[in-house]
């Protein structure tokens, strides 16, 4: 894939992100932050590739550590966001 194309995708994605979420009710600020935080764990893809391609010991240690941290970010981030949003939902349901 050409570098120009990747930069193109990057710039468009930034604009897309800004358009997508320009208005957020304050109630959702924390879940949006922790949910998007979980998405930033996508770097796990890079960590998996780095670990899986087989390398010297240093490479394996670095890769495995990257997998561990990224997995904590992904798993913890999604679970904690879900836990928070479940509280919001339960309460709304409980009112009706």
């Amino acid at each position: 894939m050409s570098i120009g194309l990747l930069v193109f995708v990057f710039v468009l994605s930034i604009f897309l992100g800004i358009e997508l979420i320009s208005k957020v009710p304050s109630q959702l600020h924390t879940p949006l932050m922790s949910g998007s935080n979980a998405i930033s764990g996508i770097t796990i893809v890079g960590a998996l590739i780095a670990t899986g391609r087989g390398a010297d010991t240093v490479g394996i240690v670095l890769g495995t550590l990257a997998v561990v941290f990224a997995t904590i970010n992904v798993v913890g981030g999604y679970l904690v966001t879900n836990r928070m949003l479940a509280m919001f939902k339960k309460k709304e349901g409980g009112q009706k």
Partner: protein, 463 residues
């Protein structure tokens, strides 16, 4: 890898990107937020599975890493109390950052002689990832009160930071010119170490009350670090999702800055709330405060037809959210209209108060944003301020020399009566005296917020 497998992989990554986009869009709307989170989690799952399917991988260490990470992530996510949410978010965010740094390092370790573009991407993954990691760790330590929340300033700080930046740029250029020379590995390590120091230096001068801005910004950084990792491995899904996170972090940062009427530069560099920065308190806000007992407060509340609670960080510290909800319910049963007014930067992260009140089962319909409550605040009988200070400080409106002048506040002093639950008359985080405490219609309920609320609840129950 066969070409058909290549197509499957491409489609999988496209599907994951679409799910992230949909997920983050749904996450910003109250009705769909929870599904949005699940949609984005599905996208992540697909991205991981597709990567593992791409072939030619040895799985031993991958499996070890995934299992260890999943266990730690699951346990922490399920055990953390809601009051500790700001530091939890900071911690997870830092982990994302360090993962991107490690990906960059592993790539450099495997192939030091990469094309210039890859070298630059590695440089940014290490730099941004490192800053996101160490910055988040400092934010975590400040939020968890493992270090003082006050800004840490020293002489020559700006010069030190400037030299640090120059050193990083110089190392970066040396590394780009000769990535595989005899001493290049040391230069690379130096970049990583300097980036970590930069993250620490960037966050220590920022005080506790400005944390909502810092957390949003660090969130944005960890997304951009993932983006840089995407440029290293030439993978679109990292670039798309990293950019989405980067954008959402920037938007939140912007919302937080606007809510404080300050520029991002001012938040990051001014050391706001330090003895030098915020000490220039306004003169002439002295006066007499009017303390009130729980019993007298009970008589006022008993007669009130409308009550608005204004929570702040103090409510989180005192863990008073359940007591607040209980008093709110009692007042409602007593015939009062009860609402909760939330300032955008109340607490230590964006939306902090909403999370705590949700945990205490406060109905969503009773929560009001600052702009909804201010126009009708003069019709409110009683405003109860719980552990909030700067966000209700009329100095922001009245005293031009005040450091917080111009910051939008909840105008609680326009209500008929204001009750302030507070430990003492000490100024709030910003070190600014609060004329609210000395107003004619203000009554001070001194003591621990939770104990005071329980006292009020007891008064109602006895009657």
């Amino acid at each position: 890898m066969t070409s058909s497998m290549g197509i499957v992989i491409d489609i999988g990554y496209i599907a994951a990107s679409i799910l992230f986009i949909l997920g983050i869009k749904m996450l910003s709307k109250p009705g769909t937020a929870r599904q949005g989170n699940l949609v984005s989690a599905l996208g992540m799952f697909i991205a991981i599975v597709i990567t593992l399917l791409s072939g030619g991988m040895s799985f031993t260490w991958i499996i070890v890493g995934l299992i260890v990470g999943s266990i730690i992530g699951t346990i922490t996510a399920n055990t953390v109390p809601m009051t500790a949410m700001p530091e939890m978010v900071a911690l997870f965010n830092g982990f994302g950052g360090i993962a991107s740094l490690l990906v960059g390092w592993a790539e450099y370790n495997a192939r030091p002689e990469s094309p210039l573009f890859t070298l630059i991407a590695i440089f940014f993954a290490v730099l941004i990832g490192g800053v996101a990691f160490s910055g988040s760790m400092i934010a975590y330590a400040k939020l968890a009160e493992k270090m003082p929340g006050k800004p840490i300033l020293f002489k020559g700080q700006q010069i030190f930071n400037a030299l640090l930046l120059i050193a990083i740029v110089v190392c970066g250029i040396m590394y780009a010119i000769s990535p595989a020379g005899p001493s290049s590995y040391y230069v690379f390590i130096a970049i990583a170490v300097l980036s970590l120091i930069l993250g620490i230096m960037a966050v220590i001068p920022i005080g506790g009350a400005d944390m909502p801005v810092v957390i949003s910004l660090l969130n944005s950084y960890s997304g951009l670090a993932a983006c840089a990792a995407g440029f290293i491995i030439l993978n679109n899904v990292l670039i798309v999702s990293g950019a989405l996170v980067g954008a959402s972090g920037i938007i939140l940062t912007n919302i937080m800055c606007k809510a404080m009427n300050r520029s991002l530069g001012n938040v990051l560099f001014s050391g706001f709330g330090s003895s030098e920065g915020g000490g220039a308190g306004p003169v002439g806000v002295q006066g007499e405060a009017h303390p009130i007992s729980a019993e007298d407060a009970y008589y006022v509340l008993e007669a009130a037809g409308s009550v608005v609670f204004v929570p702040g960080y103090g409510m989180a510290v005192a863990q008073a959210q359940h007591a607040v909800r209980e008093l709110g319910e009692i007042l409602e049963n007593n015939g009062a209209e009860v609402r909760y007014a939330i300032h955008p930067v109340a607490g230590r992260m964006p939306g902090h108060m909403n999370v705590l009140l949700a945990e205490a089962n406060v109905p969503y319909e009773q929560l009001a944003e600052m702009d909804d409550i201010n126009p009708i605040i003069n019709t409110i009988d009683v405003c109860i301020v719980i552990g909030a200070n700067d966000v209700v400080n009329p100095a922001a409106r009245e005293i031009e020399s005040s450091p917080i002048y111009g910051m939008p506040i909840i105008n609680v002093d326009y209500a008929k009566t204001v009750m302030v639950l507070k430990r003492s008359l000490r100024p709030g985080f910003a070190g600014v005296d609060n004329p609210l405490f000395f107003k004619e219609n203000t009554r001070m309920l001194f003591g621990d917020a939770k104990a005071t609320l329980q006292g009020l609840i007891a008064e109602f129950k006895e009657s």
